[in-house]
């Protein structure tokens, strides 16, 4: 892969599919651009085009190509989740508790935020809920706030986008009545 090879969109799409299948996890446009000797914007364009072809409802594939922020991933189609669950022996439960949901909602809409902020809004200790969300990979530490104690700042991950059916944070459903800038 030393020489500069200019790939056609058709080839790029097949490369993307191969890489995403093998990886399993979300691969950034940047990483894909690197291996295909192009730039992230070009990859994004190709991926968007490909995703549209790939996910066409009339094909009703069992696999779908997701765009998750600045990355993309191949995942199973949620329509067939019952079958997948049964084969893999995944319990249908495992859904997030109310406290975890409240916590992730606050983080998603206000990120990056500290644990203190979450607790201020919820009015209760949220250490446990944050721990659960970190464990499940739905949030991650994105830095530290420059105040005494340097508390961790939390933000959502690509897994969050996948599990909640979003392709970027701009897709978050608008809030009913946001009283003021928080």
């Amino acid at each position: 892969m030393d020489e500069e090879i200019v790939l056609s969109d058709f080839e790029k799409k097949r490369i993307i599919e191969a890489v995403l299948f093998a990886a399993g996890y979300p691969v950034t446009f940047e990483k894909l651009a690197e291996v295909m000797h192009t730039d992230a914007a070009d990859v994004e364009r190709v991926v968007r085009e490909y995703a549209e072809e790939y996910n066409r409802t009339e094909l009703a594939r069992g696999i779908q190509l997701l765009i998750l922020g600045k990355a993309c991933q191949l995942v199973t189609n949620e329509v067939f989740s019952d079958y997948v669950r049964e084969v893999l022996g995944v319990k249908s439960g495992g859904n997030l508790s109310r406290s975890s949901l409240e916590t992730i909602a606050i983080i998603a809409y206000n990120q990056p935020v500290t644990r203190m902020y979450v607790e201020q809004v919820r009015g209760v200790d949220s250490t446990y809920a944050i721990g659960i969300l970190l464990d499940r990979g739905l949030i991650k530490e994105v830095g530290r706030l420059d105040v005494p104690g340097r508390p961790h700042l939390y933000g959502t991950t690509e897994a969050f986008l996948r599990v909640f059916g979003l392709s970027s944070l701009d897709d978050l459903p608008p809030l009913a009545d946001r009283t003021e800038e928080m």
Binding site: Q64, G123, K140
Partner: protein, 255 residues
């Protein structure tokens, strides 16, 4: 007893309880009736007989807050600021979060069935020799402890004062994990002993060791038995598992 558990589970916290009282009584959040809320709130708190003291504490703190607002409202001289203002703001904010949680919950039940493939095929093959061997770790740790004991003795002899407990930086397991990874990202392979550089006392050593165990467990770090392991001064080598998918991304964002 069952009734109590039911009640405990029903509310996420004092704000949730107040919000539900507000809704039940069809009050406007912006014009809540503190006296009414207070009575119903206290009735719940008294009936609940909390088991979890932290959880109870949160309810009691809010009870005091309500009482304070209530007494302020009884004062004949009204201050410029409505004493309820802060509570109203909190309730509105909490209500927004609660509604957002509900919307997200619906989305979750629709989309949580999107499974990603585990990249098993790409994981490095772990052969028998590199599988985590307890004796490697216990031996290495024992030598770290022995050295720490010597260090303490040396400090005592030289009369170097210990850092007072309050001035010590607390080393968390999490923090230790990050610093281990940072060391390993730079160097790829490090000696077991090197991870403990800068450890001040037993607590630090334990924290670092615990972090290392965690990293080994999740497979982000692998352990190697050196060829001369049976010699007394040999050192276990740890390597960063470059095949591990989270390695590059996370360390980069932490660093």
């Amino acid at each position: 007893m069952t009734e109590i558990t039911y009640k405990l589970e029903k509310y996420e916290g004092p704000l949730d309880l107040i919000l539900s009282i507000v809704m039940k009584n069809k009050m406007e959040i912006k014009d809540i009736k503190i006296a009414e809320i207070f009575d119903q709130y206290m009735a719940y708190v008294e009936a609940a007989k909390f088991v979890d003291m932290d959880y109870a504490g949160e309810f009691i703190t809010m009870a005091a807050e309500l009482m304070y607002i209530k007494s302020k409202m009884l004062l004949p001289v009204q201050e410029e600021e409505d004493p309820r203002e802060e509570l109203v703001r909190q309730l509105m904010e909490y209500k927004t979060a609660k509604e957002a949680a509900k919307t997200l919950s619906e989305r979750e039940s629709e989309f949580a069935g999107r499974f990603e493939k585990d990249s098993v095929e790409l994981k490095p093959v772990i052969d028998e020799d590199t599988r985590i061997d307890l004796s490697l770790l216990t031996k290495a740790l024992a030598s770290v402890f022995a050295r720490a004991a010597e260090e303490i003795k040396r400090k005592e002899m030289m009369k170097i004062p210990d850092i007072p407990i309050v001035k010590r930086k607390r080393r968390t397991v999490e923090g230790s994990a990050v610093s281990i990874l940072k060391k390993m990202v730079k160097r790829k392979a490090v000696h077991f002993d090197e991870l403990f550089e800068g450890a001040e006392d037993r607590t630090d050593i334990i924290s670092i060791f615990y972090a290392l165990l965690e990293l080994l467990r999740v497979g982000r770090v692998t352990i190697e038995r050196p060829d001369d392991f049976d010699k007394t001064d040999s050192n276990v080598i740890l390597r960063l598992n470059t095949e591990h998918l989270r390695e590059t991304k996370e360390v980069a964002s932490n660093g």
